[in-house]
Symmetry: C2
Subunit: 602 residues, 2 copies
Amino acid sequence: MLSQTLVNVAMGRKPAGLVIKNGVWVCVQTGEIIPRTDIAIADGHIAYVGENADHAIGKNTQVIDAAGRYLVPGLLDGHMHVESGMVTVTEFVRAVAPRGTTGMFIDPHEIANVFGLKGVKLMVDEAARQPIHVWVQMPSCVPSAPGLETPGASISPADVAEAMTWPGIIGLGEMMNFPGVVAADEKMHAEMHSTRHAGKTIGGHYPTPDLGLAFHGYAAGGPEDDHEGTRAQDAIARARQGMKPMLRYGSAWHDVAAQVKAVTNHHVDPRHFILCTDDSHAATLAYEGHMDRVLRHAISEGLPPMTAIQMATLNTAEHFGLSREIGLIAPGRWGDVLLVRDLKDFHADLVIAKGRLIAQDGQWKQELPAYPYPDWVRHSVKLKRALTADDFKIKVSLTPNPSPDGRGAGVRANVIGVIENQAPTRHLRLELTPENGEIRSSLFTRHASPDIAKVALVERHHATGGVQVALVSGFGLKARCAIATTVAHDSHHMIIVGTDEDCMAQAANRLAETGGGQVVVKDGEIIGEVGLPIAGLMSDEHVETVARQAETVLAGVAACGSKLNSPNMQMALLGLVVIPELRISDKGLVDVTKFEFVPVIE
Amino acid sequence: MLSQTLVNVAMGRKPAGLVIKNGVWVCVQTGEIIPRTDIAIADGHIAYVGENADHAIGKNTQVIDAAGRYLVPGLLDGHMHVESGMVTVTEFVRAVAPRGTTGMFIDPHEIANVFGLKGVKLMVDEAARQPIHVWVQMPSCVPSAPGLETPGASISPADVAEAMTWPGIIGLGEMMNFPGVVAADEKMHAEMHSTRHAGKTIGGHYPTPDLGLAFHGYAAGGPEDDHEGTRAQDAIARARQGMKPMLRYGSAWHDVAAQVKAVTNHHVDPRHFILCTDDSHAATLAYEGHMDRVLRHAISEGLPPMTAIQMATLNTAEHFGLSREIGLIAPGRWGDVLLVRDLKDFHADLVIAKGRLIAQDGQWKQELPAYPYPDWVRHSVKLKRALTADDFKIKVSLTPNPSPDGRGAGVRANVIGVIENQAPTRHLRLELTPENGEIRSSLFTRHASPDIAKVALVERHHATGGVQVALVSGFGLKARCAIATTVAHDSHHMIIVGTDEDCMAQAANRLAETGGGQVVVKDGEIIGEVGLPIAGLMSDEHVETVARQAETVLAGVAACGSKLNSPNMQMALLGLVVIPELRISDKGLVDVTKFEFVPVIE
């Protein structure tokens, strides 16, 4: 038994596999910094932590001299989506483990929308093969908006109950359907019930600033954490209600600075606070970091390094019931140890995970096994036939109203208004002039104003041939162009924004050909592209390659005239029919304030 | 589902069963004291905690006005033995719940030595019927000293594996066989392995001051807590090694004052510190209290009240993976709430457990269900036949050595030397003079010195007829008398200490007749007695009755001339063949420094 081995190594009866000498122990369990500490590791686990591990050194023991550097437990990301990095689990690990991340709690919500339970199983399987710990949260809300959209697959309470029996499943992924929780919806509560029954953790997601009865109702329903708080009072309210505030510092969501004030200004006990990233883009991972980046930021915002490190190690482990396994440097736990020179400017010199030195100075010291994806996962973009410009027409069957001043005749259109750097959209009501019985995209480029493009949602999961075409304002496109993406939250059909129907058809057909990704077509030429052939969401290329490809997409969109900060992200959210005000789904245009369909042309 | 009910109550759609108005929330999860707090409880669980629960009050809702008193989570005892109170689980609960204890983690180690797994099952069953939470730790070390004693039954790794499937079992009871853990003993590690595999908590027990390799080996072996530390450095060492220091304040063991200095002086993070009682006698429970007493003491030793309360609520719940259930006042948790006027002079005015007002001002507000003990549990004292004075003879078959000075002839005897107020004994080697080929007890009362009595261990589990007779020094008995007990750690045979063989036989036969307990016979008359008919360990009388009966035993022993502080406890430990130096078992006299049998007369 493992415990016998650990005792024998601790007692000097058996040699350790790895001994770290002369470190400074960041003892998160006591809050102490303890100099002159050695660690002995055997069978992947810590056998001894104390003043002198010489007795555990045998002739085959690897000995690392910490030379007075800090010994920090491997960092944990309390909630995140691998798909946001546009890479596979393996490539995500390749990017973040050398930065010091040795444990991740991933919610494969995106692939679940494409492939359902079998997509989740795939992620669980890939997760289990990693040299670091990757636990999977079972997606809870697929589809996100039942009745308003058709994802590739859906998740039922029975699926959740089944997944809870899988060893790699640590709990339920963010319970986004907060109106369902608060309305005592049977399906949502059944999912939470089977999670609780399995002794696993229910993830939360409560994105409104309302801390009144709805918030209390949500807390009473069972979610045990929440990463959607943005203010100090949000963090405090969650902690009081027995939830764990997860402070998020992703690529786009920066919610740590405001919420750490709960600790630094309001002196709330930080034991239940957890740090996470939620969504990190490939470029962030490639150039800035992962949980090390979060730590540097949290510390720069005033958290004592010990407190910040506890929020990225022990607190996270305890939340998921894993503090016997990870989250602290102590006997019996996995040998996940970082060597760090400076706790404030936090960078991992060496990363030891599961007892093995896996990375040094940011470089891998071992090979990562390639995950053998099955063929079906690369064929998720299923169109009934190749699309043509005709598929992107908006016909006007109504007689146009003569305009009051007699200068022309217009129709009233419902248009999605993009708000830069924000997830919500506006519901614009604009008067447009049809030409030959249709709203032609060529109209839009002729005039500086209104800034309108077509947006199409192409069904891609079941080859139904369905195409919904509507209008969007705010991209500022000035060329004959189209941008297409198969990353299209949450049901991940294909979304195309464009000013020219031929370009739109070309972009759509290109993604069907490559298996998915994002592509920019200008004047009939592909000028930017990132390939995401796995489920249309992920690449199995290195994160830096993906980051560079993603940059060609951004450069391409800019070349088409858009000045938006993150046009591809804004596009990817146009189908998110859970956030107000107006969105497009495979079923039509949705007024998300009323959860009703509305026509493009009134 | 419960969660739906809680949401509906929190939202005001359903009335609560109980609402507490206008309290001051001791919010252990944030460390805050929050005024003007209401709590709504439904189906035994907290549905709402916040500023105003008026919306949850219906016409049948019981409303309690806290009138500004503190709202404190029900107190938890992290490790204890019900049997130490000499009462049943039900009577223990009757005594402690009105004091504010709403959760106990009990290790039925004593009854396990008498009845094995079926005794444990009985306790689990009785525990499940209580109006408070009683979780059972599966005893790990029965017998305590394999090969040196024969208990009534033993516990195997297979028994442990089976018990881990029972819902009422929360983990493994204190792993006392620390030499076994450190020696990588197969049986001990198998028990810990099946506990770990079941996701439950391994209790520890490391009673030596050695913080060297043996301590490191013990920590590496798997025990997750320890209540045997006595010094601040013990608490710190355990916390560093990832174990939870359990600070014990029982009737006899006072280990809180020294160890809280780890927090008050050394500023160690207290999140992993836990308070417990381990052993509380009936009189302590009846007259002083339970966890409320521990809190008052811990606070008087300098702990901030919030920290002390966290150590008796949240920290304990988190240790056992129960913080979704108990240990804090928050939605979804059991409605275990105390109303308290003064956090320093801690007394519970009202006790609400599982959502019901169970006690007010120390008085029960509801009936406790009587537990229907099966008949066999009252027949644990099984003698082959009635004993006579002859059974208590010590024959000297050797020829006495002539003494060097020619004044007489003596034999060399191995005598147990009692040390007042301590568990260890001394191994005395004394020269005694036989009379007619035996060591007669009448000898001892004739002389002021040496202070010697006979000690007999009578086999009582399997009616083997076995009687071991030896000698003990330190009781100071001056009359013709005998004291007998069926509480005789850990194998709980019957131990009799006496100066007169007839009195010894009478005392033994009395306990066989009553089913067990403790009795004092002086000059042929019973002058003190407590009846413990359940397993020979527990009474089903009220704790105050038992305390009064126990006082008659102490008074009786004093009347026999003993000035020992706790003569009945010292007696009860004479068979504890795991603590040095000399003990008696059903197999003979044991040298516990060498784990060898030694003869009474050399």
